[in-house]
Symmetry: C2
Subunit: 249 residues, 2 copies
């Protein structure tokens, strides 16, 4: 992404983007651009839809109800969607937003809330999670928007995993002792589809750990000798995966 | 650390800790224990001073001005201080607190604020940073408290580095292209003392990048294809170092 466009506002939109495309934004985005950011006719923004790359676009109308835009040129090619599956136990609301933003920033392709024994939140607002993910993608110049799946329980996730995820391995951040050093365990997965599961702040219950350790597709790893908060663990574990077998190479 | 003590309040104190030691806390900690947490005579807490491990202690007096304690038994041995040097460009105040907490959680031994061209904050409150580090150590069951050094400039840091840090290598998270994949670059440093430098949100200036790239002790690495916020970059880079050559193994 050329840094000359780094300061332009980025917006995720639904319609197809191509040369000379004309778009009309909905109420929320129009209000944001025209009233909050005070963009006027001729101002430029960057648009993306997760399919067609990043496009420079110019305002042709600046009504607070219905901003209109015309594309100028494509400024970055579409990046392939990420294959990295990320499951987490939901936290209290504000840290939930944060974890979802960080997962997007770190390149997760699927974000899966998983309810566990010690999960703190049992009813999630799916629309809000999706809005957070879109906003994170806009702010961090990520051109694909991760898919946020509806919440599931750990038991259902494990039971459905082989049918749903095929040969995807599930790296699980295990607070227990005697887990493998992540470097060797993760390097062994190079070239395979991978998921990462980070438990809740209370950790997994003994029964849950037993269930996880019993699955042939599960790879337990330790995240070090210190206790990590769930939001730290999310970034740390995703970073280690991306650095060792992911798109940091 | 036995999990049975996991729910006890942890306090960093200055005096030596040994069997049967008697302590009197200062005003702030006494108020916190007696008035905020409503601890009373007989209640237990965990004390640490960064030298003598973790000690179970029992309140012998619960005055809000001067709580008194007696040690019961040592419940964890002292961990060695971390040799991991962590330098960062200060952010706006609340994210500064956050970065310092995360560095403590991730096992940094030295925390060094570095002023750069695009640094957002130029006058730091050293006492406040130290208080944040102590609080993070208390909350994350870290038994050594990282040293927070007075702020310095990037130029002074680089000029003083060989004399001050000897053969310590400085891994620098470089937003530019063509940086090495971190896995190989960091693995090559196994067994050596290492530092990590994370730049400000605006990145390093061209002159600063040139200066860094010119130093024989500097190891530039990429933190992947996405833009990371400075607090994300801090955790991500520290995690990758700890996992590959640090204490996650």
């Amino acid at each position: 992404m050329p840094r000359t466009h780094a300061s332009l506002q980025r917006l995720h939109v639904e319609p197809d983007l191509s040369a000379g495309a004309m778009l009309t934004l909905g109420k929320d985005q129009s209000l944001y651009l025209a009233a909050v950011l005070r963009k006027t006719v001729g101002d430029e923004v960057v648009l993306f839809n997760g399919r067609d790359g990043a496009w420079l676009a110019r305002l042709t109308g600046d009504s607070k109800r219905a901003v209109t835009l015309e594309t100028v040129e494509r400024i970055a090619p579409q990046t392939p969607p990420s294959d990295l599956w990320y499951g987490f136990a939901p936290l209290k609301t504000e840290r939930l937003d944060y974890v979802v933003q960080k997962a997007t920033e770190m390149g997760a392709g699927v974000i899966q809330p998983v309810l566990t024994r010690y999960t703190q939140v049992s009813r999630l607002k799916h629309d809000k999670l999706v809005a957070n993910v879109i906003e994170a993608a806009e702010q961090c110049e990520v051109l694909t928007v991760p898919e946020v799946r509806p919440e599931t329980t750990l038991e259902r996730l494990i039971a459905d995993w082989p049918a749903r995820e095929g040969d995807r391995r599930l790296v699980f951040a295990d607070e227990g002792e005697a887990s493998a050093s992540p470097l060797e365990a993760i390097r062994a997965l190079a070239g395979e589809p991978v998921g990462l599961l980070v438990g809740p702040e209370g950790g997994f219950s003994d029964e849950e750990r037993t269930l996880l350790h019993a699955q042939p597709f599960v790879v337990p790893v330790s995240l070090g000798p210190r206790i990590l908060r769930a939001d730290t663990a999310a970034v740390a574990a995703l970073a280690v995966i991306q650095a060792i077998i992911g798109d940091w190479r």
